[in-house]
């Protein structure tokens, strides 16, 4: 069940990180209709500009996606490939050392982006296409195991219920992580993600956040995707566009509990929150200390 204390590094393709490093994964959408940016980086050049900005802001990796998570316009395999494969190659050419993740559920897309230089396959629909695991193993890519409660890709929640949402999320993601390891993905390159709001209502996502330490205690590195989601909006009664503060609060709590990777829209703000939590935890020295020491 637990990854235990064997692995203390996280390897994401070309980069290796210590388990105390808190990583910012910047969302880069090659979509027309994602809920937050509404097509702001649909044009390839705009998306490339976004990569340049987030790298400057301190993103450790980018997560490139070609399909909106929610329902909407059908994006078939060919269209998804058109959106992301060539783009990954361009990002790789401009940023040889940047960790590139791709958000996809399709093995065929995973193969194309790994050939183009991707380091991480963020399987946001939780092993829906099991072939994606094998692609990660073949290319030495990292693999994110997401808890979707068996939902088909792009299905919004409708009355999901759980005996214990945290226990279920842990059991399902750890099972997928162990499966990925058996299929040949490197142990230090497997992450688990409780997937806030995916087949979960706001109560479920809040409880996952509150008890994220239980998920971190499995020993598998935990990725969280909290950014501007509905559970933040419903908790505070805030529409999209007014959820950054709530997102950062959830980010701080998650960091305190031990999550390692943060998939976000706001890179600079997240970086600062994570650095502050790390300073409080004692895993990052303060930047410059004079007060009372002069």
């Amino acid at each position: 069940m637990s990854r235990g204390t064997l692995a203390h590094v996280l390897t994401l393709g070309r980069r290796t990180f210590a388990d105390t490093d808190l990583l910012v994964m910047a969302i880069v959408n090659r979509t027309k209709d994602s809920f937050y940016d509404q097509g702001a980086t649909w044009a390839e050049e705009k998306a490339l500009d976004r990569v340049r900005v987030v790298v400057e802001q301190g993103a450790d990796l980018v997560d490139i996606g070609g399909v909106k998570a929610g329902p909407g316009e059908v994006v078939d395999e060919a269209e998804e490939l058109r959106r992301v494969a060539g783009f990954v190659a361009k990002v790789r050419a401009e940023f040889p050392d940047l960790v590139i993740s791709v958000d996809t559920w399709r093995a065929s897309v995973g193969r194309a982006v790994c050939e183009a230089g991707a380091d991480v396959l963020n399987d946001a629909w939780g092993g829906f296409d099991r072939g994606l695991v094998d692609v990660a193993a073949e290319f030495g890519a990292a693999y994110v195991c997401t808890h979707t409660n068996g939902a088909a890709p792009r299905t919004p929640p409708h009355r999901p219920s759980y005996d214990d949402v945290v226990a279920t999320a842990i059991a399902d993601t750890v099972a997928l992580a162990e499966y990925a390891e058996r299929r040949g993905v490197k142990r230090e390159s497997i992450l688990i993600d409780p997937a806030h709001d995916f087949d979960k209502n706001t109560w479920h996502s809040l409880e996952l956040t509150r008890r994220l330490d239980e998920m971190c205690a499995t020993g598998w590195p935990v990725l969280v995707s909290l950014s501007n989601k509905d559970f933040v909006g419903e908790a505070l009664g805030k529409p999209i566009g007014e959820r950054v503060l709530g997102t950062l609060a959830a980010t701080a709590v998650s960091a305190w509990h031990g999550a390692q990777v943060y998939r976000v829209h706001e890179v600079a703000e997240t970086r600062q929150v994570l650095d502050m939590v790390a300073a409080i935890k004692g895993t990052r020295a303060p930047e410059a200390v004079v007060r009372g020491l002069a």
Partner: protein, 221 residues
């Protein structure tokens, strides 16, 4: 059979699940209004009918914690959602009399539906509380996204409820109902199997969250 009440069964009818604001106040009030009118006929028994994963009689409590709240988890016999909402509505209406809780499957066949309908119709001094709702696909933000066929389907259901057209409800298009994620597929048909009422009232017909909710009262005396 004295009367039959139809209510939807979204989890948000459990007040404690909607948070600081009561987002379903109007719907809950409509359910209370109609149920109170039915219970004012002084039945000796209420039969609660809803769909679930299995067909059987139940005892237990609403399974609210499965959906949320910050309460501790307790070991209890849990009712399926439809019957749990029915049980809660009866509690809120002050009903403490004899209550039977019966589920049919989501895809119950004609024979099962008709058998339960006949049994209820012959019951004396009984109110039936039937739980079910219409399309889950009434908008871009609806749980089932948008399917334009939802609108004529739900309008036809509402018209049948308002006019007491039992035949129309009993004969609803089950294939289309499944495609529109109509969780009231079985409930509507059971109501139809009760036969034409002496009077019918449709008290609520809206879709505030992309799901068609109907609240209705059919009286047989």
């Amino acid at each position: 059979m004295i009367a039959a009440v139809l209510c939807p069964h979204p989890p948000l009818l459990f007040r404690e699940l909607t948070g600081r604001q009561d987002v379903a106040a109007e719907l809950r009030a409509a359910c209370h209004d109609v149920l109170s009118e039915a219970l004012a006929t002084a039945p000796t028994r209420v039969v609660v009918v809803g769909a679930a994963d299995e067909a059987r009689e139940w005892t237990g409590e609403p399974a609210v914690r499965r959906f949320g709240t910050n309460e501790e988890r307790r070991e209890t016999d849990e009712l399926p959602l439809s019957l749990g909402v029915g049980r809660r509505l009866l509690d809120e209406a002050g009903w403490s009399g004899e209550t039977e809780l019966v589920s049919l499957t989501w895809d119950a066949g004609d024979e099962v539906v008709d058998a339960l309908g006949a049994l209820l119709r012959q019951s004396t001094n009984t109110v039936a509380l039937v739980l079910g709702e219409g399309s889950t696909r009434r908008g871009d933000k609806a749980p089932g996204f948008l399917d334009e066929r939802s609108f004529p389907f739900d309008s036809a259901t509402a018209a049948a409820l308002e006019s007491g057209d039992a035949t129309a409800l009993r004969g609803l298009d089950v294939v289309l109902a499944d495609e529109l994620m109509v969780l009231g597929r079985t409930a509507f048909r059971v109501l139809g199997a009760l036969g034409r009422p002496l009077s019918a009232r449709l008290a609520y017909d809206h879709d505030p969250f992309g799901v068609a909710y109907h609240v209705a009262l059919w009286r047989y005396t």
